[in-house]
Amino acid sequence: MRYEKKTFEKNPTSLSCVAILLLVVFAIVFGRAMYSGRNLSSMAFQMPEFGFVTLGMMLAFLLGGIDLSIIANANLSGILAAHVLTGQWLPFIPEGMKIPVAIIGAILVSAALGSFNGLLITRFGAPSLIATLGTMTLYAGIGMAITGGKSIVGFPEAFTKIGIASIAGVPIIFIMFIIVAFLMGLFLERSRLGRKIYLCGESPVASLFSGIHNDRIIFIVFTMIGVLAGLSGLTIISRVNSAKVGYGDAYLLQSLIVCVIGGINPLGGRGRTIGIVIAVILMQMLSSSFTIMQLSPYATKMIWGLMLVVVMGLTRESDRIRRVFRRISEKVGIAKKRKDC
């Protein structure tokens, strides 16, 4: 079946329109409940861990693939970091060095886990959907075997600070997320590797015949996804002060939804980081508003599903809608002119 890639082209702009509209609607319906400083900061605290995951999923989407193992990776590297932080592993590390060792270790491990996905996809030719489905189970399984399913607690004070500290009211982790997203955008749109990622995602065969090393790119991208998972894992354990298998499992499907809403074409080669940032913010505002409205979890689920379908529908019909709008505005224009006469 031939899918339409083109429809995604203009999405970031139409998305920002939707975003602005929703912001206004929220302001009218919830007023202070939504825009109080407290609520804004609460949202800013919740966004990063999910944001990193979604940036990772975006990278996979750009290649026309998918990564289902991101959350499992995040939790596993979080668990390893937790073991170091609590001194259960490598107890000889001096107290002051624990945090940097844990952070660097977690990032390295998550990169390795990500690159294992890359290996399965490139060396063994496994489709990313099932390769990462397998590693999702495996990584969660390793975490389970290490912890027996229990939470690991008791991190140094300084580490938990990272998750709750803010500068001038803005959470540090949120600033980190924005920086990472900015660098990601810069990387994708201004670097040579970024350009190759778009080309490879658009058509792996044509990219191979252009002398682009697809395998290397896929490997790098999945390693990068791993790093983002690691960042997410660290954010999580520092924010909740514990590490555990299965934390944030619900983020996986949400991140797929947010990627589509953010205008990333699941077929590869299309989409911009800014779309993801806007969509992550929207998602957070919506989920806050659901709590304010006391919606049942099922109603929430229904709304997400509906939103996904509606967004895809709008994107699909965007040309037709635009035409209708133009016709209406033309008619209005003509009516005005007549009045003028």
């Binding site: 409940a33 109080s36 407290r38 609520n39 900061s41 609460s42 949202m43 605290f45 919740q46 861990e49 389970m144 027996g148 399913g149 229990k150 939470s151 607690v153 938990t160 998750g163 709750i164 999580i236 924010r239 909740v240 002060n241 514990s242 555990k244 298998v245 299965g246 934390y247 944030g248 499992d249 619900a250 983020y251 989920s287 806050s288 709590t291 304010i292 006391q294 049942s296 979890p297 099922y298 929430t300 689920k301």
Partner: protein, 314 residues
């Protein structure tokens, strides 16, 4: 239904908001929601329930964060993973919100109060005692929990096996670790079937999650009703099995009462009333709580028998 008359009428006359965050949507917590509604009727306060979409701890955290931002007066919570909530609980309390937990004794020091239906080890010991009696103190047995991550289940499991080890030395646990039924009847069923094959001499099972009916069903299908099952039980799911004997004993406590008591305690704390040993939380089994540190224990275990199981509606 919740038995008490108006618990802790509002001290200063304004409407207080108390939110109960449960683990997920299932009959157990549906019943708990009934208790909360009762409390709302009894007190006229804004007391309501928030239900996460699944058992993922991050969802509870996110709901809690949002509630903190909404500046509610008190948050009651039945944590999925108590320890992961600690920072958020701190944050809530820093914001002046009362936090009362249920089924989370191990993080009691971080909250205003933890309400327990009973002491975990006492409740767990009931399982061990019941199974020991049912088997006549002899034979192999296996224990299930919902998930290895579920602290209360693990505590009951430990207490039950300890009880058996000390009081019924003729019984052997076939596994060092509990089996997981993943909180699902079909997993309990298939694990049971496998255990039957791998350990043909097994005589009894106990399950700390309410999905032990899967074990009973498996034994029925295999024609092995001579084996005994002791399980946490929800009458709506287990009554048939208790009545036909394929489940020897079912234990529970009444979720509606527990919810009522937890939220009522939160209201009292908002009004700066103290809760100590002997305080009445106006719910069956919690008329006379025992306070130890930050935990208030009621004594509200229920034991279902073929005769009484139909009296319960949850």
């Amino acid at each position: 239904q919740g038995t008490g008359e108006a618990a802790g009428a509002a001290g200063d006359g304004t409407t207080k908001t108390v939110v109960m965050i449960v683990k997920q949507s299932d009959p157990w917590f549906d019943d708990m929601a009934l208790g909360i509604e009762q409390l709302k009727k009894d007190t006229g306060m804004n007391v309501y329930v928030q239900v996460p979409a699944s058992g993922d701890p991050s969802l509870q955290i996110s709901i809690m964060e949002n509630l903190i931002a909404q500046n509610v007066d008190a948050i009651c919570i039945v944590p999925n993973d108590p320890k992961s909530l600690i920072p958020t609980i701190k944050k809530a309390r820093d914001a002046g919100i009362i936090v009362v937990t249920h089924e989370a004794p191990d993080i009691a020091e971080y909250v205003d109060l933890d309400i327990e239906a009973f002491k975990g080890e006492e409740f767990g010991a009931l399982f061990g005692e019941a199974l020991g009696k049912a088997l006549g103190g002899k034979g192999q047995y296996a224990g299930f929990v919902g998930g290895l991550t579920m602290t209360t289940h693990m505590e009951w499991y430990a207490a039950a096996t300890q009880k058996i080890a000390s009081d019924y030395p003729g019984m052997q646990n076939i596994s060092k670790e509990p089996y997981e039924d993943s909180n699902s009847i079909d997993t309990a069923y298939s694990k049971t079937v496998e255990i039957l094959k791998a350990y043909p001499n097994i005589k009894g099972f106990f399950d700390c999650s309410a999905h032990g009916v899967g074990i009973s069903q498996a034994l029925k299908d295999k024609g092995r009703t001579d084996l005994k099952v002791v399980s946490l039980a929800v009458p709506s799911m287990s009554s048939n099995y208790i009545k036909d004997g394929s489940m020897s004993t079912g234990f529970a406590w009444r979720p509606a009462d527990a919810g009522y008591a937890t939220a009522a305690a939160a209201l009292m704390l908002i009004n700066q009333e103290t809760i100590g040993t002997g305080t009445d939380l106006h719910a069956t089994g919690y008329e006379n709580v025992t306070r130890e540190g930050n935990i208030a224990y009621g004594f509200a275990p229920l034991e279902f028998t073929p005769e009484n199981v139909d009296n319960y509606n949850f």
